[in-house]
């Protein structure tokens, strides 16, 4: 009699998948789909999330034999997810399929109104507005795919440089340099925006 999947550890499930039981992958899919979707949603536009998450699980399945059993599967899957998001942006930047977002008069009006507001308490409300998200997209689109991912992981999500380097598969020094450079670039962009 087979054990119920939920009573087995990830490692046992992975062993079964590698041994040829393809259907056992459904257990990993059910268990980690929310985790993967949470990461993908942060980095990728909404209309591309489903397809990117789909690709994450396909990549994870194909790479399963390379999973080192001493590590955590969740951490390993997170790295695959982040790298798939990075690949998404790399492809987009190369093919320029996504139009470069431009700031309209509406965005500038919103920015002026928000920054001239005397009460800091109102910021949390206003920041939820669509314009804030679009402004962020505009600023991020000015960075390279790698700088974008580094900036999001280190400054927006609060990961350490080491964690970001592990997730992206880059060296710590590379991430350190990129995070500093991309933050400065973003600050320059925003400063120009405010001062014009």
């Amino acid at each position: 009699m087979q054990n119920h999947p939920s009573r087995q550890s990830d490692k046992e499930i992975i062993r079964r998948i590698i041994d040829g039981d393809v259907n056992s992958f459904e257990y990993l899919l059910n268990k980690y789909q929310d985790h993967v979707l949470r990461i993908v949603t942060k980095h990728i536009p909404y209309n591309e999330v489903e397809e990117t998450a789909h690709n994450v699980f396909v990549r994870a399945y194909q790479a399963l034999p390379g999973f080192k059993q001493e590590g955590s599967f969740k951490q390993w899957l997170s790295a695959i997810t982040v790298r798939t998001c990075y690949d998404f942006w790399r492809k987009q930047y190369r093919s320029r399929e996504l139009p470069m977002s431009n700031l309209s008069e509406r965005h500038r009006d919103w920015l002026e109104k928000t920054l001239s507001s005397e009460s800091n308490l109102s910021f949390s409300e206003e920041s939820r507005e669509k314009e804030a998200g679009e402004l962020l997209d505009w600023a991020m689109s000015k960075l390279s795919a790698k700088d974008r991912m580094v900036l999001e992981l280190v400054y927006l999500e609060g990961n350490s440089v080491k964690e970001a380097a592990d997730l992206l598969g880059l060296s710590v020094s590379n991430v350190k340099v990129r995070s500093f450079r991309s933050r400065k670039r973003l600050e320059r962009l925003l400063t120009d925006l405010i001062s014009t």
Partner: protein, 105 residues
Amino acid sequence: MKSLDHKLGVLKKILCQAYHGKENVEVGDQWQLNVMRRIRNLGPVQPGPSFFMLFEQFVWRLTPATCILIIVGAIIFLTIGFFPDYDVFTLFINDTEELSLAQLF
């Protein structure tokens, strides 16, 4: 009038909140079915890493070091004047009496 630094700080805070305020995307059963259909179509995974994975892991990682090594080697050879073909050729030209083809084999 508020300073530029203050405005920049406020704007960064707003953008950070906008980033964290992104709503999660809910996927339905159909999405799961599609993923599992694709996985089943791929068939069982290979127990060992494939040739292409190994290629990606090792060969591409060594590419920058190999390029640097080739450039450094080329510079060294050009600097010390190491041209083996030229040296063999001059040997034939200058020492025709002692060195014959028979001696080479």
